[in-house]
Amino acid sequence: MPATPTSLSPEAVTESIDSMLKATTTPPSPPASRLTVSAQVMIQMIDVNKWYGQFHVLKDINLTVRKGERIVICGPSGSGKSTLIRCINRLEEHQRGRIIVDGTELTNNLKHIEHVRREIGMVFQHFNLFPHLKVLDNCMLAPIWVRKLPRAQAEEMAMHYLKRVKIPEQAQKYPGQLSGGQQQRVAIARSLCMNPRIMLFDEPTSALDPEMIKEVLDTMVGLAEEGMTMLCVTHEMGFARTVANRVIFMDGGEIMEENEPTEFFNNPRSERTKLFLSQILHH
């Protein structure tokens, strides 16, 4: 049975922000590798199937993501990676199977969907910043209108996260005036302003020039070190090696292989994985 979404009271939100703001002044958190993954299940996908018309995009996907886990999803283009993570916040609807996010099952219930979306941050390949709003307003919008934070507090939080992604000085600019790397960092800050419990990344560095990839990856590594539950679709294998607990390889809408990064890269089990790895690692 789906749990009823408990809407956060303003006090609870305020408290969580306060504790978060304090947390940043305490000593830095341990490196990612030493972080323990808790037993709490954040995302559970059970036999998920999805079709686009006749086309079977996702085939019997089973995936469990625990709190604090960092999962990298890779695979050839068109294998259904984006569709998979977009199902998690219901940007795409699955037709069969169950998806349960933090105790709330995704059904047609709009209340549940909006509840789940509030808890999940998403970063897109093409940033999708709101071009008519300043960077600061991009970050403040959802806290004000969805979390109902007072303006001053939303602004404080937005500036906090803009500092975290190292671009507080761009707060008064419009997205169109920033570089790609800066825009993607704003997009990450915008998601973080909602205090998400899970972050989804859909090829966050694929649309960036090489010299900007590092600044975005560094931001993501920082996030991982703080224990954020993350699902990243990416082909940055260096990132996968250092940050991921698990790497998932998808092909033709199926999860072909799922392993911890060292095993995945050194001893890929299926031929398909070997071929894919040789293609992306040798060029």
């Binding site: 940007l91 998403m122 999708n128 919008l141 004000i144 998601s191």
Partner: protein, 267 residues
Amino acid sequence: MSPCCWASCRLFFCSSEHFLTSAGWASICCRSTRCWWYFLLVGDVFGLPQVETSRWGGLMLTLVISIVGMAAAFPLGILLALGRRSQLPIIRAVCVVFIEFWRGIPLITVLFMSSVMLPLFLPEGMNFNKLLRALIGVALFEAAYMAEVVRGGLQAIPKGQYEAAAALGLGYWRMMGLIILPQALKLVIPGIVNTFIALFKDTTLVIIIGLFDLLGSIHSAATDPKWLGYATEGYVFAALVFWMFCFAMSRYSQALERRLDTGHSKR
């Protein structure tokens, strides 16, 4: 407060500093209470005699019809445009039928129907104001055009904007009012102003239902023996006045476009 109408008002009346505050609302309310001219027109206060709307005329009538028409057609047009793109088949069907009906008939027919035909269907004794009937007709007629202009803007907004808004947990009305409409309306400012200008000039048609707007007054003056021979001057003057108003609207729209430019489309 509906964020949708809020956004459209913001786009056209408020400066961007008002964004995300209630000050934007306050300023709109302020502006709409400046209706002193209404009392000047209607009279019946401060010892002024009451003036029946059927006796209103001239430039003031032109302005009343066009301003009320624009103010009503704009939000209605936005709602119709949203409705036409709705996921719900019933809402979509209603909006399509409405738009196609009103776009398909000439304004003269609308005015004629509202003033001559409508009273035939109304019960005896129930007879509401001719000006009001004309206003409603004009507003509905222009709303259909406005809806299609706005829909053009909505279609130009990339899917990613909807997805980003949804992913942040914004519901339909907030998504539309805060993210989609501000961008879509900005894109179609030229089209909106085009519609407004057309509406402004179309108000001259009310002469066929016996309301005398600016052009109508000149027209009737030209048939007055005392003013015989001055028809040309009258019509040229009317043309000048209409041109001035239309040109002002056009300049205003250009200034608005410049002010709302955030640099993302120029790259």
